[in-house]
Amino acid sequence: MALNRRDFLKLATVDGAVGAAAAGSTMLAADTASAQLLQRPPRPMPEEAVGLLYDSTLCIGCRACQVACKRANGMPIDIPETYEAWNGGTWDTPTDLSGDTLTVIQVYQDGTMEVKDRETDGFAFIKRQCMHCTDASCISVCPVSAMTKDPVTGVVTHHPDRCIGCRYCVLACPFGVPRYEFDNPFGQIQKCQLCTNVPDRDIPACADVCPTGATLYGRTTDLQQEAERRLGMAPGETYRFPRGALGDDRASHEAPIAHYQSAVYGEQILGGTQVRMLAGVPFADLGMPHDVPDYSYASITEGIQHTLYKYFIAPAVLLAGLVYFAYKNARSHRPEDWD
């Protein structure tokens, strides 16, 4: 084999490109049935998994949850540069999740913004926080197991003492949840952990403070039932909405049922999430991932990678090939041939 150095490098580059293209097309085909072959079985949700039910139609945008969250987690207020002109430091006005903000209320607005929970000429609120996926991408990509899922509650928990700060989780999360403290030289990853990280808290601060029950805490299976009950009622029918946690002794409040979108968000999407949502406008308008598969990304990527690396066969074969190639070339270029 008479390859000179230049040809060898050319070949290696083309090879690499072909390989990358093949891997890319495999990923693109993930939606198709062929992806099912590579997929590993989905992770089941723990039986006692807990979460939140966020009902956008109940949310009044008071942002008490934001304040309570900051207080519980000991986080500073967040004033974006664009608000500095009028916000002298009194108001916490985050525009998005960040290293200092674990939950934020955002608004969808259209046209004249007259009616709440209406898509045309209306507006609607959305609460952003960790969805606590059943099969979370952030856990899958973490190289050092700094993201884990609690085996009982299913809460996706971050362990800063293990974290190496690679921020793969930041990139991998389809909901854009884990955030890094870029403004801190010793920054950490920050994300909602349903206040399991806060001592002496039995329910998350956001659900505890919510005056309308728009953010409700409970077992995910119970929350799903609660959500389905609301979907099953006719719009305008009076319903007693629980507040705080499902089944606690807090006073409920009476309000008419809104016009809901037909499905509970989080039941199917991306393998399911422990935080479920209801809204009056499509979730696409609310900035939530909507055109995504019902299985988790982790189940595909892990399916492919764990197949390739099973018993370390693929790397071993690759190494063997390289060794053979190197040996063959080395044999045809004996040192004695050089002069």
Binding site: I60, T93, Q106, V107, F123
Partner: protein, 390 residues
């Protein structure tokens, strides 16, 4: 040298105010100082500058007291009681002296035929000039027979008197939008005044009872300027109903901080926290209660100040309609109040920063190219000797 700052009370006005002391009776026992303070207070309630208080004072003593006919329909007399308890003890005297209250079923000295006949005399004498005030809803079912005075239905009386009125004021929620009598099942067909008098402008001063100063200020505006104050789309005076209770509420900071009283008497309630959780309708009720309070009791002398949620008495569809503990739908959250949008533009690069960054990148690329072009010029590579050396 006497230098009066320009615009600090018209000279003419100042002269006339000087005569006030001789009008002691007209001032209802107030001293000149007390009287001017009162008139300036009225101007402040109206959102006018203090110098207009002088004009109000002049109008109040000008002798041209506008006659007022006050008709009570389906009401509880709470509006009158509220009025009587304003600015103790002199307000009723003042009101009786500033306006000529020619007929008021609760307050008139006469009774029976005497009172009715005096009203008719006044209406006849002042046709086209009197102020008609109605408190209470008007029953319209079955020809309005459910509220009759002196054998005449109040429906007929109001319609007839409205024709000769210079201005019409609907006092209280019942008159303004139906109030309690109109709440379901409304057996008497109780109707607000402006629906009975659909072709006329009716100033609505809702409330249960309305703050007496909102009424007094409207009347004194009328007396002083000969016109009604600015009205909103529901014909309520803007100075009093232009803002939500929620906007001026002294407990508002607790709302913004998420501090809610969850039960009557709990820790948050004792601390004076926000009452939204308990069903306060302040966020959907337009009135100036937190700004001026009631009964001159100082700050906190209004329902929320005493620890009870606002129940929205001034607002149609809220007071006497919504359940007292059901939650209010916030009106101030309507965008564009500062909420981050679902997709918020992030930063955006400053043109100067782009120029600097481009310069640095360009310099680096140039330097790299020069460096690369010189790489081969340092001499022959050691492991490959030239061909001719063989």
């Amino acid at each position: 040298m006497h230098a009066e700052p320009a615009g600090f009370g018209a000279a003419e006005g100042a002269d006339r105010i000087g005569d006030l002391d001789s009008y002691r009776n007209a001032l209802g026992g107030l001293t000149r100082r007390q009287f001017l303070k009162y008139c300036t207070g009225v101007a402040a309630t109206l959102g006018l500058s203090p110098e207009l208080g002088v004009r109000i004072a002049n109008a109040a003593v000008s002798g041209a007291r506008p006659p007022v006919i006050w008709i009570s329909a389906q009401e509880c007399t709470g509006c009158t009681e509220g009025l009587l308890r304003s600015y103790h003890p002199t307000l009723e005297t003042l009101i009786l002296d500033q306006i000529s209250l020619d007929y008021h079923e609760t307050l008139c000295a006469g009774a029976g035929h005497q009172a009715e006949s005096f009203r008719e005399q006044s209406v006849e004498a002042n046709w086209g000039n009197y102020l008609l005030v109605v408190d209470g809803a008007i029953p319209t079912k079955d020809g309005g027979i459910y509220c009759q005075i002196a054998g005449k239905t109040v429906l007929d009386t109001v319609v007839r008197l409205a024709d000769g009125a210079r201005a019409i004021i609907a006092m209280g929620s019942c008159a303004a939008w139906g109030g309690i009598p109109s709440s379901g099942p409304n057996p008497t067909g109780a109707t607000p005044v402006h629906e009975v008098l659909a072709d006329k402008t009716v100033v609505n001063i809702p409330g249960c009872p309305p703050n007496p100063y909102n009424f007094l200020s409207t009347v004194l505006h009328f007396v002083a300027f000969g016109s009604l104050p600015a009205l909103d789309s529901k014909n309520r005076p803007r100075f009093a109903y232009g803002r939500l209770i929620h906007e001026n509420c002294e407990r508002r900071p607790h709302f913004d901080a998420g501090r809610f009283a969850r039960e009557f008497g709990d820790e948050g309630h004792r601390q004076g926290w926000c009452l939204y959780y308990l069903g306060c309708k302040g966020p959907e009720t337009w009135a100036n209660c937190p700004a001026i309070g009631f009964n001159d009791g100082g700050s906190g002398s209004w329902p929320v100040g005493t620890g009870h949620p606002c129940f929205g008495c001034t607002e149609q569809g809220v007071g006497f309609t919504k359940s007292i503990h059901s939650l209010a739908s916030l009106q101030t959250v309507t965008p564009p109040t500062a909420f981050p949008r679902v997709v918020e533009e992030q930063g955006g690069a400053d043109p100067a920063a782009i120029a600097v960054a481009s310069g640095i990148v360009g310099a680096a690329v140039g330097a790299g190219a020069v460096l690369a072009s010189r790489l081969g010029k340092h001499g022959p590579t050691p492991e490959r000797p030239p061909e001719d050396a063989k």
